[in-house]
Symmetry: C2
Subunit: 455 residues, 2 copies
């Protein structure tokens, strides 16, 4: 047993991957199939995600059809869609047999309507009814995330009866950490954690040991709110109820973990102008298309900055040193502003920033901008005086730097908050809006002062 | 019961927060204390994080000392440290009573050595021994994350004996989803999921129903690797073993969730040049200092770009239109390159990118750069011809754009990968290194071609 406890280290994936790619290149499909048989579905999913598109399809053909459903579950949206559109409805129905209803509903949502109908028609009546029920809830809500296979008990039975009931059932849903106590109208009145069930005397009534559920999840709560509740409360699973407080399902932590990661990655990817589901190994044309939208937005920003410079063409014509130095102030403003933007975006995402503290934050960031503005105005001003031997030019760049860093701090707080109020994703639009502001302010102040005092 | 199921929506925090700030301003401390009494420790922690520093200290004084340990656990590093340094060792010892060993060890690590010794000396001998054992493992490893209170059983007893043993114990550690089966040398030989325990017949032997543990976590595994294992395997808890495969502890999902979020946030915050633990409401001086380091790095980058322009001072002197347009190409290169950098950083973080697919990715991103380069070269070239009425200038900016976007794609892949090989955090240094490259290449090509063909 002792030699059996090695885990798959991240670097091992790449050893496997290299072995697999070599084997694929040499057409050793039997060898690859044998390797795949030894791997867990989630590791095969990881291998698929780390493979270029061509190898992905070959690898997929070599996986065990029995495991394909579990592998699909673990793949990210883009890659999953790419594989599923090539499968026949019978294959899909076979692959998805025995999957949790929430996961299955999630898969079916990403299929074209007629294909998902085909898959549903291949399922047995009871499973179909369950999946159709899950599909009735919007995707990004508690209803769309939840699983409907919950174990419910009544409050007037004894622990011993519950234990015998469970033994009769023979199997419990995955990650079951509590049984739910409901009344005759299916309304949730309490929960019995399994750890309590195990440590209670057999003749105790459920009513005596069950715990209150103060915060069952409403079925229409958004998935991000569900995730932050789980995170704050350290839950493993939680019951979901409808408006009548009737128990309709259960959400487990494994589905929440995916949302926590997605939400956190979303900010980073959006700030760079990428879709968070963007596949690292997507085909060239697809990537080029999705990225060019963002570049298009930046063309407008860059042209806006150029047209500011254009206003000062005469000044630039008379003194080339100004042109040489004019990129410094916008660059510093952009970096300082984006620090504030990143901080505010995270603060908004985790719910730390709201009406009650916006003003405080605005003052703080303006002051941070002022302090750093003074520091870097002195340093850059000094460098310019030494470099170009022009005291006035040093003073001008210093003044522009100071102004721009204060503007960057103020805009860094207000821009994301305003965008959020306008229902625009601050992570997506915040950075570019900020950079456009700091570019234009930086250029106008620097070139404007230069025009006033130097030419 | 039905009116009792409302959950704390994120926006409610800010209503509470506004009510609390108003009450604090008006000196209604009793009212605030009563509000805090009704709140869960994790919600109080959230309230503290969303408050400016001054209110934080007042609020802390008003919290129930019995709950302070749990509140501390939920706070982020910076804020927790700020509060703990003001507490007396007796207060700390009282606040931390009854805390899980892993959480307590985590708290003690952030205290100065002499204070944590003081706190330890206030604890009873058994607890102290446990915490000291936990402190012996490095912080960012499985050993540092794990909890030592695990329930172990032998394989030769029956399910009924196990059930009676658990009832005798009377309480199980939080989030217990499996009991661990060990041999006479404490070596882990299997696990008995609680769901299996509940559904097995009383006279069954543990040996017959226990499951293999293929991938117990080695005690020295890094916390990020532990998090990605949990995420991939959908675990709720997992056993930790030492080199002899002896069971030493257990890691639960709630500790892992924090690391998953931290790891995901790390990339976003680092890319903007922020520490991921940076407190949104940190004091001005502290924030200004931590951000000025990054601005300092950018000053060097901006001066490097200016010194490239400086090489072409003669050209700029002769044609101001060139100065007006010279910021466009670097700006587009920076945006395109940062898209690639963000994609590669995420790919490296989740383990999708390695030696086996770097070359493929490099080709792909170069091609994406080429395609978008052609597109935006045509557009910008056309705009410039129409705007400035100079065909050659349009051709020059188009050529520079094309070159710079291809360079951006290539550098976007190679820079983060090289940084990682050099053990520098690609999320921290990648974006700025990339921008420096695209600024310098963009300016040199544009100004160089302009010098050759226009002056």
């Amino acid at each position: 047993m002792a030699e059996n406890y090695e885990v798959e280290q991240p670097s091992q994936t790449h050893q496997t991957l290299q072995e697999v790619s070599r084997a694929l290149e040499n057409g050793m499909f039997v060898h690859v199939r044998r390797m795949l048989e030894d791997m867990e579905p989630e590791d095969i999913a990881h291998l698929l995600e780390a493979s270029p598109p061509k190898s992905r399809l070959v690898l997929w053909q070599l996986t065990d059809p029995e495991e394909q459903g579990e592998i699909l579950e673990e793949l990210s949206e883009d890659i999953k869609d790419g594989i599923m559109v090539r499968m026949q409805p019978e294959q899909l129905a076979a692959a998805t047999e025995g999957m949790d209803t929430d996961d299955l509903a999630y898969l079916l949502r990403s299929l074209p309507e007629n294909v998902s109908q085909d898959v549903l028609s291949q399922m047995d009546a009871q499973d179909r009814a369950r999946v159709e029920q899950a599909l009735a809830y919007p995707e990004e809500t508690a209803g769309g995330m939840m699983n409907t296979d919950v174990v419910t008990i009544r409050s007037d039975v004894t622990v011993d009866v519950v234990l015998r009931y469970l033994r009769m059932k023979g199997e419990l849903p995955e990650a079951t950490d509590a049984l739910y106590v409901v009344d005759e109208n299916s309304r949730l009145i309490g929960e019995l954690p399994i750890t309590v069930l195990l440590t209670s005397q057999p003749d105790t009534e459920v009513l005596e040991v069950m715990e209150d559920v103060d915060d069952a999840i409403p079925v229409d709560m958004s998935d991000s709110d569900v995730a932050s509740l789980f995170e704050r409360r350290n839950w493993v699973s939680a019951p979901v109820v409808d408006e009548e407080h009737q128990l309709v399902g259960r959400i487990t932590i494994d589905d929440v973990v995916d949302i926590i990661r997605e939400d956190a990655e979303h900010s980073m990817m959006s700030m760079a102008g990428l879709d968070d589901e963007e596949d690292t190994f997507a085909p060239v044309l697809k990537s080029a298309r999705s990225r060019s939208i963002w570049l298009g937005a930046n063309v407008l920003a860059a042209l806006a900055a150029a047209s500011v410079s254009n206003l000062f063409e005469n000044t630039l014509d008379q003194m080339a040193a100004i042109a040489v130095l004019m990129t410094i102030v916008p660059s510093m403003g952009g970096v300082a502003g984006n620090q504030t933007v990143a901080l505010v975006i995270r603060g908004l995402a985790v719910g730390h920033i709201g009406d009650s503290n916006t003003r405080w934050l605005l003052n703080k960031e303006a002051l941070v901008g002022l302090l750093n503005g003074v520091l870097w105005a002195c340093i850059i001003g000094g460098v310019v005086v030494l470099w170009k031997g022009n005291l006035m030019l040093g003073g001008i760049i210093a003044a522009a730097m100071l102004t721009n860093l204060v503007v960057a701090g103020v805009a860094g707080v207000t821009v994301p908050i305003l965008l959020k109020k306008m229902k625009v994703d601050p992570a997506l639009a915040g950075g570019m809006a900020l950079t456009t502001i700091t570019d234009m302010v930086g250029l106008s102040v620097f070139l404007g002062l230069a025009t006033l005092f130097l030419v």
